[in-house]
């Protein structure tokens, strides 16, 4: 696979990296030990996926940047992740709601990437990642059902979390004019084509959870073109401080 297609590889890589970093904040703070371990495991998988994707993105752009250069030495405006994944964790319900909405999208995207035969290196990473994301998606969906169909308190709170985050889901399907670069190569169909399947998957789980699907007539955007919330800068400050202070540091 020739050509400089790293800009949109960064979409994939940065979603995984930033959500992985965000989720790792739960390590040692989970509501119960098992969930602490589960969230840390999901974070670890995401960071693993990010490493593979960033390595590939670095090779493709041809500027000799490796995974560490891309993760630790880019500033906020150079990150291409969804706004959703950089939002603060909030309470456990907020974290689960964000994970659920993202996992259902991530699964569809990796399935499409695994099936295409144009970019085999990317297909290999996607095939690997799907095996992990299936576990994430099953886990977050089960929590949505447990909280939605749980107590009065848990139902009200998880519904509020989903309502609050809904306006960040529109960005999943926005291509920012990159549509033709995805689609013309045959690597990924236009992002808008995932919306129907995603909505169906999400609505099925919400129905089982006795929750209402929210509606929004306006969606947040900007992550893919580097226009982030202020939360990303704080996240990066923590993630990048060590390699920036001691470049080339080794354990």
């Amino acid at each position: 696979m020739e050509g400089n297609n790293s800009p949109w590889l960064l979409w994939l890589a940065d979603d995984a990296l930033i959500l992985g970093q965000r989720l790792s904040e739960w390590c040692g703070h989970g509501p119960v030990l098992e969930e602490d371990i589960a969230l840390s495991n999901v974070a670890l998988d995401l960071i693993g996926q990010a490493r593979a994707l960033l390595t590939l993105a670095g090779q493709r752009e041809g500027q000799s940047r490796d995974e560490d250069q891309l993760a630790f030495f880019r500033t906020d405006r150079a990150f291409r992740n969804l706004l959703l994944v950089e939002l603060p964790n909030g309470d456990f319900g907020d974290t689960i709601a964000r994970q659920f909405l993202f996992d259902q999208f991530s699964l569809l995207r990796y399935e499409a990437l695994a099936q295409q035969t144009i970019d085999l290196e990317l297909a290999a990473i996607a095939t690997k990642a799907i095996k992990e994301v299936r576990y994430h998606a099953a886990h977050s969906a089960k929590w949505i059902v447990r909280l939605g169909d749980g107590t009065d308190e848990s139902k009200v709170r998880i519904q509020a979390s989903i309502n609050r985050l809904w306006e960040y889901t529109g960005e999943f399907f926005m291509d920012y004019g990159m549509d033709s670069q995805w689609a013309d190569t045959g690597i990924l169909p236009p992002l808008a084509s995932f919306e129907k399947s995603w909505l169906k998957a999400v609505q099925d789980v919400l129905a089982e959870a006795t929750l209402e699907p929210p509606s929004a007539d306006w969606m947040q955007k900007g992550g893919r073109i580097g226009e982030h919330t202020e939360h990303l800068s704080f996240l990066l400050a923590e993630m990048q401080v060590l390699p920036r202070t001691y470049p080339g540091a080794q354990w």
Partner: protein, 162 residues
């Protein structure tokens, strides 16, 4: 000559243990996909079990060191495709896992059942009962789920099928 070196290296790699399952070798886990000579370098092809498995870096170093006892130019290459699967773990290795208290992956059915929303049936590696409960699909390492036996009451790890 080359074949002799490759054979000796392969033999040596059979004693490189997995850092997180120290009773199993990386060979037994099916993580070595090939040992080949490219110009004057021996390439060991390693496939990670999970993309984020923190043991992968340690395994890379262990393989490198072991092979360098036999040959000077060694490089470990990560291969993603085909994706690692528990199907590559042999029956005898599964038995060894169970003997060490880790319930081995049992075909594909058990985990498919979980992903489809049903309960998994994983026998307890100690008392063999199937009266067990999934505590969490995420366990002490990326490759394991956390179970509890409802008969002998022992918690145990289950090596997930992927």
């Amino acid at each position: 000559m080359v074949n002799d070196v490759l054979t000796r290296i392969e033999k040596r790699l059979h004693s490189v243990m997995d850092p997180e399952l120290p009773f199993l070798t990386v060979m037994e886990l099916g993580m070595i996909r090939g040992i080949v000579m490219e110009s004057d370098t021996i390439i060991i092809e390693l496939t990670p079990t999970y993309t984020g498995c923190p043991a992968t870096d340690a395994i890379k170093e262990d393989l490198q060191e072991a092979a360098e006892e036999i040959y000077t130019n060694v490089s470990v290459r990560l291969v993603m495709s085909p994706a690692w699967t528990t199907d590559w773990i042999s029956a005898s290795t599964r038995k060894k896992m169970a003997q060490h208290g880790v319930a081995p992956p049992e075909g594909q059915s058990a985990d498919k059942a979980f992903l489809l929303g049903d309960e998994r049936i994983v026998p307890c590696p100690r008392c063999k009962t199937t009266n067990t409960k999934l505590v969490s699909p995420f366990g002490s390492t990326a490759c394991k789920a956390h179970f509890s036996c409802l008969d002998c009451l022992e918690p145990f790890d289950h090596f997930k099928c992927i």
